[in-house]
Symmetry: C2
Subunit: 356 residues, 2 copies
């Protein structure tokens, strides 16, 4: 088959470790399915600040632009937390999203059987929870003009939240499309009783809705959504919302499943290009010890296979392998009930590869 | 003692019912403690739209301005949901906050023993949860300029989030002051890795912190806070944050306690003036049936006594009476495990008054 180019940006903290295991899994699929991957590595985040003086070097961006998909580990750490804005890992993250036109962040939040107990929610409330947050990723208050000025009452800071019709349309269409492949329920989250951008958002959603007569649509105010996620998580299927609300709600949703160390994510643009990364962060406290959990990154590869390459069979093989390894009782420290039996990062990766 | 003027704005849905019981409780304190209250009633919200053509009539505002404190029931309902902005109950709510200078919203989220089971969180996680969200209420994206315009890609909507140093200072000082009366832990929530207003916010917090050397301060990013509230609710004491984040987080915090029908709130300005209201909404589905739970509104009176009048003894009497009535097993329908034993709104109010 055709050679697929993968940009690999391992990043900081546990990023390189977990990405290493995901690469082993990808190589195994070359063997099993005859795929061909060409990996190009790029510096990104804190390590890029240290080595290149910027979180997102032009070479890295070029590697990503030439690639069919990007596999990202994680970025950030206390070392760079007090840097000025241009020298912070997050600035690289925002920069790469914008530069690659990744307007949509797909965050599945589902419950792993073996992790049910890890949630702080009662198991009966969590039962059947399997939702996806579709978050707009290149607009809103993240990217609007920001500045300081002298006001009537001294110094003031300003952030601007802007959305145009087209930006809302494309993310909303994508959310409807995803809902069509699932339980056909879509919750559009906004704050239309206060914000003008939310009123525009709701108008666009209502205009597009008739194109998807099979999808059951509800509008939910963001404060209410934060409550309903706790009250009735399993009643949600697809949630679509703007950038800032999506940041908050996707993390809340991930945490309530108790599976946060296992969750993958995709950031998509036009076409099939996508950036895939685990939801968990760079976990600087355990970096370099070989004890991190590579499963979220491995599952991010499965997501890449499905959404960018249409390699559904291989994606299924990866997902099944993860499930089998977990069912056999293997656990990294973060998900082990009895920590003394926990296995390391590479052992987990090897087991998954062996189970494929 | 001095006559205290109370503006009573019952509002919509169950508002009038629950406020009615709270007034009985206040009258009982006149008897017990020799207080003197003068009640002036004003129209507000949906009912004011229907009767006066505006959610916040000038007369109502005048009544509030002349009062020492305001007791508010609840506003809103499906009847007015599709009205234009100026004719919506929420617009009245935003208007009254701004007009009365209520820059601080105090939302205690604590667990009632009798309602532990009502939470979707595991009891052992919830154990000891007793936090207060201090939300900035008259600034930020709620009140910044909002408009539509033609952009390069068609119509766009704009909201502006603005904070000046003074606005941040007064709310942050208040939060530190509240923390000093409690466990002396303060979490300041922002999105300083993205927003300029958050960077200003954090600067101000860090500048004020040395004035309160006993308070243990942590800065928490809003997405992380949404997660930590779920993960370790009992580790929070006072949370202070800006308007939009506070809207979301205070509702999340309220819901996780399982006690949302029992929680009170205060909106404060400079000086001792305050507006007090239950956290629950107008519950149009059960309005007029006499089955609503008046406890949150009764506890809002206790909060008023403490924060505006310094009537601590009477506040304690009210809180103890509520506790005793609950301990004796009396429940309204919303909190009854066995619905067939539930009592109505006035019966609950009478029991509380009798227990005082
Ligand atoms: C690091 C930060 C800028 C980023 C965001 O807010 O988008 C992160 O929280 C995320 O969700 O990917
Ligand atoms: C009704 C709405 C405008 C209001 C707000 O967002 O402030 C409400 O959610 C609240 O928290 O009091």
């Amino acid at each position: 088959s055709e050679v697929k180019k993968i940009a690999v940006i391992a990043g900081d903290g546990i990023g390189p470790e977990v990405v290493g295991e995901a690469l082993k899994v990808m190589k195994k699929t070359e063997e099993l399915f005859g795929y061909q991957f060409e990996f190009e590595h790029g510096l990104f985040g804190g390590i890029a600040i240290d080595e290149k003086g910027t979180p997102l070097p032009q070479e890295t961006l070029d590697i990503c632009k030439k690639a069919d998909a990007v596999l990202l580990g994680a970025v950030g750490g206390p070392k760079w937390d007090n840097n000025s804005k241009e020298l912070r890992p997050e600035t690289g993250l925002l920069g790469i999203r914008k530069a690659l036109g990744l307007f949509s962040n797909i965050r599945p939040a589902n419950v792993f059987d073996c992790l049910k107990e890890a949630s702080t929610l009662k198991p009966e409330v969590l039962e059947g929870t399997d939702l996806i947050v579709v978050r707009e990723l290149t607009g809103g208050i993240y990217f609007g003009e920001k500045f300081r000025r002298e006001g009537a009452n001294g110094e003031e800071a300003v952030d601007t939240c802007v959305y145009n019709v087209q930006e809302v349309e494309r993310i909303v269409r994508q959310a409807f499309d995803i809902a069509m492949t699932r339980s056909k329920r879509l919750a559009s989250v906004d704050k239309a009783n206060v914000l003008e951008t939310s009123r525009l958002w709701r108008e666009v959603v209502n205009r597009i809705a008739p194109e998807y007569p099979e999808v059951e649509l509800e509008h939910v105010l963001v404060d209410n959504c934060a409550m309903q996620l706790l009250r009735r998580p399993s009643s949600f299927d697809v949630i679509v919302t703007e950038n800032m609300f999506g940041d908050i709600l996707s993390d809340e949703a991930a945490m309530l499943t108790g599976s946060i160390g296992m969750l993958s994510s995709a950031s998509l643009g036009e076409g099939s290009f996508g950036l895939y990364e685990p939801v968990h962060g760079s976990a600087p406290d355990i970096a370099g010890q070989g004890i991190s959990n590579p499963i979220a990154t491995v599952l991010s590869v499965a997501l890449m296979f499905r959404l960018t390459f249409g390699y559904h069979e291989a994606a299924q093989v990866i997902e099944d392998a993860v499930k089998n390894v977990l069912d056999a009782g293997h656990r990294t420290g973060d998900i082990a009930v009895d920590k003394s039996t926990a296995i390391g990062t590479t052992a987990m990766g090897d087991l998954i590869v062996a189970a494929m």
